[in-house]
């Protein structure tokens, strides 16, 4: 994985904590790991090894799980840090916006 997605993932997590109004700081450690500290849980996010089909590995309080995309990372982090969170599933409208 190149550097750009990791940097942007870090920035997204910074903005996400602010948007969700949850405590915590997002940092990058010298080995490139994204670390969320000072939050409800200890969270570390790394790019997955190249031989895996996943993009990221997310470790929450020592428990390591894979994430297929940044969207999945965001979901795992939110569930860990925001106890009141309930995901909404997108619905596609049946009524057309513009008749075809």
């Amino acid at each position: 994985m190149s550097e750009a997605p990791v940097d942007l993932a870090r920035e997204l997590l910074v903005q996400s904590l602010a948007a969700w109004r949850v405590a915590g700081r997002v940092q990058r450690s010298p080995d490139g790991t994204i670390v969320i500290c000072g939050a409800l849980k200890d969270i570390r996010i790394n790019p997955a090894p190249a031989d895996l089909m996943f993009r990221w590995m997310v470790t929450i309080d020592g428990r390591r799980r894979s994430a297929i995309s940044l969207v999945s990372v965001l979901r795992q982090v939110r569930k860990a840090l925001d106890p009141g969170y309930a995901a909404n599933r997108v619905r596609v409208a049946l009524t057309p916006l513009v008749p075809y």
């Binding site: 994985m1 190149s2 750009a4 997605p5 942007l8 993932a9 920035e11 997204l12 910074v14 903005q15 996400s16 602010a18 948007a19 993009r55 995309s69 940044l70 969207v71 965001l74 979901r75 939110r78 309930a86 995901a87 909404n88 599933r89 997108v90 619905r91 596609v92 409208a93 049946l94 009524t95 057309p96 916006l97 513009v98 008749p99 075809y100």
Partner: protein, 337 residues
């Protein structure tokens, strides 16, 4: 548009803001003669329906609950019944439905019902949301009543009323309306009188109105630096580079997943990388999205993607970071392949 597809317009606005007065006037206009009316009154004794002259068989009063929370199923059933009666020739013919909400109704769930209910899918299109604002008490109401803010925020057209009592409208009110929804044109009604065409063109269903509406939303860009309300914010996310279809899909899904009811409305014109000459128009209410509609051409030389957000407590910086991060990840995966 298929001949049997009926546009449904929502007429909303806070209590006493002049919805019924406008409806009475509109129903007397030739352009509105073939209109079925659904009025939602909140309370034991409904009065509004007594004030509106409409054909009895194409007029329905929904009461004992508020459309947005208690009787949404009733609404879909009512629309379905109206269509069935129309098909069977058992009521006056109509080619438009207007729903007047109660003054306390949140229009977003009503829109969702109309967009997603399977019983009426394919038979109706959204004709737009018109919100009335009383120029005498409107500024105070907007300050005090969250639901009033939401009614303004989701509007396609805002109609100022009671100007005969308070002309011109207070600058503070106009400023507040711009803060809440800069994209919606603000019209004036003189004792209920208003040009019906102004309201008819509020629809997203009219192909002729479409480019006008797109331009109207995009006017929001000019106001993107306006002072934002603490809760409800309007802003525009602009991207000069085309956005991949997969990026857009993931972006919208994630917005819906994380924002839900706080994503009051989203409208945008998007330069899809896979379709550079035909921009996509996207539209969403809370976690419900329309499939993109494709314009035949760009409405102007500006080919940037511009997405107007009306949200409650969803920061612009988060939305921008989300789009950027997803775009980078999709690009990275594409390169890796």
């Amino acid at each position: 548009m298929r001949a049997d597809v009926i546009p449904i317009s929502i007429l909303t606005g806070f209590l006493g803001s002049g919805k019924t007065t406008i409806l009475r006037y509109l129903l007397r206009q030739p352009g509105f003669s073939r209109t079925a009316v659904i009025i939602n009154e909140f309370g034991e004794v409904g009065l509004d329906h007594e004030l509106v002259e409409a054909s009895e068989d194409s007029f329905i009063e929904l009461k004992t609950g508020c459309l947005c929370c208690k009787i949404r199923t009733d609404l879909a059933q009512t629309v379905q019944d109206l269509l069935r009666r129309r098909d069977a020739g058992n009521c006056s013919p109509f080619d438009r439905i207007v729903i007047e909400t109660s003054g306390l109704a949140d229009p977003a769930p009503i829109l969702q019902t109309l967009m997603t209910d399977t019983s009426i899918a394919g038979r109706v299109v959204l004709g737009g949301v018109v919100t009335t604002v009383d120029t005498v008490t409107g500024a105070t109401t907007l300050e005090r009543e969250d639901i009033s803010q939401k009614q303004v925020a989701v509007a396609d057209r805002i109609v100022l009323t009671k100007l005969d009592l308070n002309r011109p409208a207070q600058p503070v009110l106009l400023r507040r309306l711009t803060e809440l929804n800069a994209a919606a044109p603000v019209l004036s009604a003189d004792r209920g009188r208003i040009d019906p065409q102004c309201l008819l063109s509020a629809g997203l269903s009219d192909p002729h109105a479409r480019s006008h509406d797109v331009n109207s939303w995009l006017a929001e860009e000019r106001h993107s630096h306006a002072r934002h309300d603490a809760d409800i914010q309007t802003y525009t996310v602009v991207r000069k580079e085309p956005i991949g279809a997969i990026t857009l899909t993931l972006f919208l899904e994630t917005l819906a997943e994380h924002c839900g009811a706080d994503l009051l409305r989203l409208k945008g014109i998007v330069n899809i990388a896979e379709s550079p000459d035909r921009p996509a128009v996207i539209h969403g209410v809370q976690h419900v999205f329309h499939a993109p509609a494709w314009l035949k051409r760009w409405p102007s030389d500006n080919r940037s993607s511009r997405i107007v957000f009306i949200t409650r407590r969803v920061p612009q910086r988060w939305v921008e970071a989300l789009l950027e991060a997803i775009g980078a990840e999709v690009a990275d995966v594409s390169v890796a392949r």
